[in-house]
């Protein structure tokens, strides 16, 4: 998706201001932001959606909306989309603020306080057994990223499309974000770190042409040169 989140290289956002933004939450907003963080993680632990479905839910909105929301407001908007799409909460329930029918989550799929340490410690590994599938590319191989512009979820940033680079590392056989964003938890491909010269990405505007940028991409995003 050529979405509002894909901002690598975009101009106009101003300075970073690290001193004023050093904490995980905005000053004065800690209370609701940390609660929003926890609600999102707890609801996600129910296993109703994949991490890529949650990213797509946050990003699949108009640029004007995305860029008018703060970080955790985007999380809340994404969560609301997921809850409705998955049929867990109806628009009427959102409007009234109360459950209109019985609980939607079967017992055991609602994260308890006792399960929090183990759940956070376990995380959600995305590597899968590759079976007979061998990586087609090896470190040092020259590659070109494909000019992929699907309407759906993809993790190839716009700034790195159709660009020549090289394989820095083979990272593993990982669940494919493009299909995982549709709820498919099994489809996987070899994941590579690909390096680019800054001069390749930014042309004459490169700050320092010999500097490098890497991205992590799956085999279907790449052609060998």
């Amino acid at each position: 998706m050529n979405g509002p989140h894909d901002i690598g290289g975009m101009h106009g956002f101003g300075p970073v201001d690290p001193g004023a933004n050093a904490a995980p939450y905005h000053s004065g907003a800690e209370g609701w932001e940390e609660r929003a963080m926890a609600i999102t993680i707890a609801a996600g632990a129910g296993g109703h959606w994949t991490i890529d479905e949650s990213r797509f839910a946050r990003e699949n909105r108009s640029p004007s909306e995305y860029h008018s929301l703060s970080y955790f407001q985007i999380w809340l908007a994404g969560l609301r989309s997921l809850l409705q799409t998955k049929g867990l909460v109806t628009s009427e329930e959102f409007a009234t603020g109360h459950a209109g029918n019985t609980a939607t989550t079967p017992a055991g799929r609602c994260l308890t306080a006792e399960d929090v340490p183990a759940t956070l410690k376990r995380g959600g590994p995305v590597d899968r057994p590759p079976g007979d599938v061998r990586p087609a590319l090896a470190p040092g191989d020259r590659v070109r990223t494909r000019n992929l512009q699907p309407r759906g979820h993809i993790r190839l940033p716009a700034y790195a499309r159709d660009k020549e680079g090289w394989i820095v590392a083979v990272q593993g056989y990982h669940v494919f974000a493009d299909t995982s964003a549709k709820g498919d938890r099994d489809t996987a491909h070899w994941l590579y770190t690909v390096g680019f010269r800054a001069g390749t990405l930014w042309g004459d505007a490169a700050e320092h042409p010999a500097d490098e940028v890497t991205i992590d991409v799956w085999e279907p995003y790449l052609d060998r040169l």
Binding site: P18, N21, Y71, Q73, A113, P117, V175, A205
Partner: protein, 209 residues
């Protein structure tokens, strides 16, 4: 973005109150629906406030500085090496450690969202998730570093790692000069969070709190 500036014309306080009310209402609804439990939310917040934070990453770095076998392991298989210290978990499932050298400075960003190695650094700072950092780190890393007060020596190149999949990156900064006599415990205090993202450098001996 409005949250990054204070020039929007509606009252800041009422916006926060509104958000507080909306999040409380969501929590109430999702609790009624059996989707979340308030005690679990408290436990999640508590975990990232008191347990999972950049002290973990600093311990990994200080060990890499003082234990050559561990350093090699961290370079070959960071996920396993870090797991041996029990620092596994959410947003740290697949780790890669990248080592600064006199020839190369490493820096980490997630241009598409906010991917960050929670298991070793805790929750990301606001600036890491902000649009200025996400947009500019890949295009003008040296200008961004200057805003953090970092100027790299002549001849040191920059490699920016854009975390576009589930790999999470930990920068291992160079051990500061003058620290030869320091213990691992003392070294931990020199390793700042930003030095493990690549937007800062470790503290000099005597500069730590």
């Amino acid at each position: 973005m409005p949250h990054d500036h204070h020039d929007h014309d509606h009252d800041h306080g009422s916006e926060l109150d509104d958000m507080t009310a909306r999040v409380m209402a969501l929590e109430t609804l999702l609790t009624e629906k059996g989707i979340v439990q308030p005690a679990a939310l408290d436990a999640i917040i508590e975990t990232y406030e008191t347990q999972v934070g950049p002290r973990r990453g600093a311990e990994v770095v200080a060990r890499a500085w003082t234990d050559p076998d561990f350093r090699d392991w961290l370079e070959k298989d960071a996920t396993a090496a870090i797991a041996s210290m029990d620092y596994t978990g959410r947003q740290g499932e697949h780790m890669m450690a990248v080592f600064n050298t006199p020839e190369r400075h490493n820096m980490v960003v997630c241009t598409l969202c906010s991917c960050y190695p929670w298991a070793v650094l805790g929750l990301p700072p606001v600036w890491y998730k902000s649009t200025p950092y996400r947009a500019r780190a890949v295009r003008e890393p040296r200008a961004v570093l200057a805003e953090f007060g970092v100027t790299l020596p002549e001849g040191q190149s920059v490699r920016v790692w854009d975390s576009t999949a589930e790999m999470r990156y930990l920068v291992v900064p160079m051990r500061p000069e003058g620290t030869e006599a320091m213990t691992r415990e003392q070294l931990i205090d020199l390793v700042t969070r930003d030095s493990m993202i690549g937007t800062g450098l470790p503290l000099s001996p005597g500069a730590s709190a």
